[in-house]
Subunit: 313 residues, 2 copies
């Protein structure tokens, strides 16, 4: 039986192999993605992000448990694009999660690579597509930190939950990080801590303008993931957002926008590979470099000329 | 008098304006870079990186002070590509540095943008080129953290100093982060702390293989930047590395490799902009997206077809 047949029959080892194949950009991985695409479109994608220390992994565990208990199959992608110096706790968290990963309806893949920029977001989207084709009902994408890479990753989700904790300045930092713009549901985790009422009030205040302009309520849900408190309300809010997207037609519009970005990204990756091929052309290019080093020519003008020569038509 | 004339006369406000112009990718910024290029090639570029908390800003201050006292003009680019949630301390550090920035031979620009991916490394290189054309003797590039973005940024430096502190596991983490490969000089800062002898020994042990294979000694310098101890030895090690690069011909080879990467990156940026232009072509593309959403077509195949149509010749 071929790998794809096993995959389609629900063999999790085949899933694991195809995920690695796609993640590592093996030869013909585009063909695999292309083949699998027609089986996609059924999974709902939930993104979870927020600052380090917000308890995202514990939240993810608790959300997964609820979804699985409702009869769903859940695929998790845990992404850590940050430096290895902050990665320790993350890997520790993942080990804690093995409880869940022994459940046959849950599959977890951690992606913590320092591969090329843009590559991590692209690979996350591709793996998410493989998950979708495999037949997961929900795909949970968790990212550590809130930089640009994380924003690009979370871009693939249908509903984005931003988790913060009652700590001074976090709301303002979340705003600066662009999280207010991407969040559909807010979660104030560790809500039993001091200051949580104040942070909920602050968030509600800031969200007023957004709420006035939209048909969506941007709920703020207090949780204590460790005590499993409030997580059912959080899941309910996500489901309400899902219904809202479906009924308003936004689901379709957003997914089409994701497809547009996907196409552009794939072309970008192909073009990037292609530049190196076109320019690695021996002596002539070496002489160009020598001239530029000697300031007889300049790199920007050279780039424009090469671009026009090779790509404009 | 035109802005470029003021710039060439050494007006720091003109420098500041041109840096912003280039950083913000204003219209024709490529033309500005192209014009300035012939005045470049005189500055020496020193990169400083390492994990958060290694005292990089204090080190940078101390190095700058020594270079300025020796009669040099120093341009600093302080880059923080990490999330705004970890950026607080960084901005605090920069305020502390105003001492130095009031010196007319020192110019500091902080870059802490969450702009598009790849953009930060590209912008840092372009600003560094503007600094070079302005006439700085040394350009110091400091990056916070040690992720992929930082590695791409530090790639523009001639000599790379990696700073770590005596903390358990830091050496192993530095290895994982790829710092052993890019460092030319190591600095064990806060060397008055416990464990510093052990970490220096560990580093020396790890470096033995590299030293055996190269003509360079990869020195490990203990410093206490706060007490200004050891920084003169660190600067001396950097100068020795500079001499080594010059005498071995590696300086020329490295700079030519940087030029090669520069050209490729410039073309990549132009191509990226171009994809959007080519595809934003109204109804036909909208219909394509609709077909893909309905799973009558797939995004990867579509991307390959569009790529072949527009870019292969």
């Amino acid at each position: 039986m071929s790998l794809l047949d096993s995959f389609r029959k629900g063999d999790s080892r085949a899933l694991s192999k195809i995920v690695s194949y796609v993640e590592n950009r093996e030869d013909n991985y585009r063909k695999v993605l292309s083949t699998l695409f027609k089986d996609t479109g059924k999974a709902y994608k939930l993104g979870l992000t927020g600052p380090p220390g917000a308890g995202k992994s514990t939240l993810m565990d608790a959300i997964t448990e609820i979804l699985v208990n409702e009869g769903n199959r859940v695929g998790i992608i845990a992404v850590d694009p940050s430096s290895p110096f902050t990665g320790g706790a993350f890997l520790g968290d993942r080990i804690r999660m093995q409880d869940l990963s022994s459940n046959e309806n849950v599959f977890i893949r951690s992606m913590a690579t320092r591969g090329s920029m843009g590559g991590l977001a692209r690979a996350t989207k591709d793996v998410s597509m493989v998950y979708d084709a495999y037949g997961f009902d929900y795909i949970l994408i968790e990212t550590v930190g809130v930089g640009q890479v994380e924003l690009d990753i979370i871009d693939a989700a249908d509903t984005v939950v931003v988790a913060i904790v009652p700590e001074s300045g976090d709301v303002i930092q979340a705003m600066k990080a662009g999280l207010m713009e991407i969040a559909n549901v807010f979660c104030v985790n560790k809500a039993d801590r001091e200051g949580s009422d104040r942070i909920i009030m602050e968030l509600n205040h800031l969200l007023q303008i957004k709420r006035d302009k939209a048909d969506w309520s941007f709920p703020v849900i207090p949780t204590s993931a460790v005590k499993k408190e409030g997580v059912d309300q959080l899941v309910k809010a996500v489901m309400q957002h899902k219904d809202y997207l479906m009924e308003s037609g936004l689901f379709r519009a957003n997914r089409k926008e994701q497809i547009r970005k996907d196409i552009i990204e794939h072309i970008r990756v192909m073009l990037s590979a292609n530049i190196e091929d076109k320019l690695h052309s021996g002596e002539a290019f070496e002489n160009l470099l020598e001239d530029i080093y000697e300031r007889k020519n300049d790199p920007v003008k050279t780039a424009v000329e090469l671009y026009e020569k090779h790509y404009s038509n």
